[in-house]
């Protein structure tokens, strides 16, 4: 067995161990990026071998909590890929308006940038009051950050630029106040947001929804887990419900491709087929 095969064996043992110890299931995460992140974690925690890291993670729960950031990637910004939000306004909002109450699922919401973006969009379209947004993630620290809705001042300029390109009708500054901690978004926007722990790898569908937004989450899954996740979205969505993915994610290589039709190709907005 060469070094690479040994590392991959250790990696398999590590994710199995974490599943048994903490019930977080990374067993079907895309291995190519997981390898890199585990190498970074080994450096960060000064572990010469992955099995050394496994030893520490099993015996130090607080270290595992801290190390979650190496298993799940927290990259997001408000109104990321502005044309996606334009497509939502153009294609999804007119349909959502026909429902007496609207449910939206932001799956893998990370630190919440997309949740707050969608809340603003729905507010500007006059829909927020009759909407519920389910914002789910497996990482408690990320969920807590999402719920606080506070972001570094240094990020606000790009958020504002995105907001305007995304068809924003006002100024982003109408929605936050700045303080010592950064820009805190208006609490009233989250009146109808439910933040919850949910795993696309191990949990089931919890509600019927009209729109699922799950962007740059599936890229961290291997194909079988992608199929599982998209299967959940398919099950959760109402007849003709919408599904939005990240700009380089696609349904065409998975098993549910035929269950959806393309609404906006470049913006990766899909609709459940009739």
């Amino acid at each position: 067995m060469n070094e690479q095969e040994l590392f991959d064996l250790e990696l398999k043992l590590l994710v199995d161990a974490i599943y048994q110890r903490y019930h977080y299931d990374f067993r079907n995460y895309a291995v190519s990026s997981l390898r890199r992140r585990m190498q970074q974690a080994m450096q960060r925690y000064d572990c010469p071998r992955l099995s050394d890291l496994q030893h520490r993670l099993l015996h130090e729960p607080e270290l595992f909590t801290q190390a979650m950031q190496f298993f799940t990637v927290q990259v997001s910004e408000m109104f990321r890929d502005p044309s996606y939000f334009l497509a939502l306004r153009q294609h999804a909002v007119p349909v959502l308006k026909t429902y007496p109450s609207i449910k939206v699922w932001v799956a893998g919401c990370s630190t919440g940038e997309e949740v707050w973006s969608l809340a603003i969009l729905l507010h500007e379209e006059g829909l927020l009051d009759r909407s519920i947004i389910y914002a789910t993630d497996i990482n408690p620290a990320a969920l807590a950050a999402a719920e606080s809705g506070t972001y570094g001042i240094d990020r606000i300029a790009s958020f504002s630029r995105n907001y305007l390109q995304a068809g924003g009708q006002r100024s982003l500054s109408d929605y936050y106040v700045t303080g010592y901690d950064g820009a805190a978004f208006d609490r009233s926007l989250r009146r109808n947001v439910v933040f919850a722990d949910h795993s696309l790898a191990t949990d089931t569908v919890f509600s019927e929804v009209h729109l699922v937004s799950c962007r740059n989450v599936l890229i961290y899954f291997n194909r079988p887990l992608q199929d599982r996740a998209v299967g959940l979205f398919r099950e959760a969505l109402v007849h003709r419900g919408f599904l939005g993915l990240g700009s380089k994610e696609s349904l065409q290589f998975g098993e549910h491709g035929n269950a959806f039709e393309i609404t906006a190709r470049e913006q990766r907005l899909y609709r459940k087929a009739a």
Partner: protein, 190 residues
């Protein structure tokens, strides 16, 4: 040299000066090349790249931009999209990631080369062209350590010498070639 070499995967990295170097290198690839070709060119993160459409008419292979979990296919040249790393997931599949930029670049060359080495081992041929960055050095080291081959553009011949020079110093090379020589060798690939 290396006449009739048959890699299982060809990976190429380029940065500053890379568009014209890639145009020449990709044009040299034979239509019957029996392995997939994956390319990372450093591109700005905040706007779409037109490199695939630009180079598609200039080579015998189909040039495209990667999508997540796209199958690896012979007869194609696949570019990493702006703002994503492109990695080899398994022998038949690509993966994209939004992991941290490497030396300020996303896409970066190291993640591609390292993941290629992890999956294809000695079946990898890696080529590192011009660039003003030291991205690619770790990747070349990984490829060579796994038994694959690495060709570097001769720093004196490169429009920007830092990238191949840095890799040469960090990891050595199986060949250091001018762009002309690289093109001649690429024509001989099977």
């Amino acid at each position: 040299m290396d006449a009739g070499l048959r890699p299982q995967l060809l990976v190429i990295g380029a940065s500053a000066g890379g568009v014209s170097a890639l145009q020449r290198a990709l044009a040299a690839l034979p239509a019957a090349l029996a392995c997939p070709v994956l390319v990372v060119l450093h591109v700005p993160r905040d706007r779409p790249s037109r490199i695939a459409e630009l180079l598609d008419p200039t080579t015998a292979l189909q040039v495209r931009e990667a999508e997540d979990k796209q199958p690896l296919e012979t007869g194609t040249v696949t570019f990493a999209p702006p703002d994503y790393h492109m990695l080899v997931e398994d022998r038949g599949t690509l993966a994209l990631s939004l992991d941290e930029p490497v030396l300020f670049s996303r896409p970066a060359i190291d993640p591609l080369f390292e993941s290629a080495a992890a999956v294809f081992g000695e079946g990898v041929l890696a080529i590192l062209l011009t660039g003003a960055s030291s991205d690619g050095s770790e990747g070349v080291a990984a490829v060579r350590q796994a038994g694959g081959l690495a060709w570097l553009q001769c720093p004196d011949d490169a429009e920007a010498s830092m990238m191949p020079a840095s890799a040469l110093q960090r990891a050595g090379a199986d060949a250091v070639l001018t762009l002309d020589e690289i093109c001649e060798c690429l024509k001989e690939l099977r």
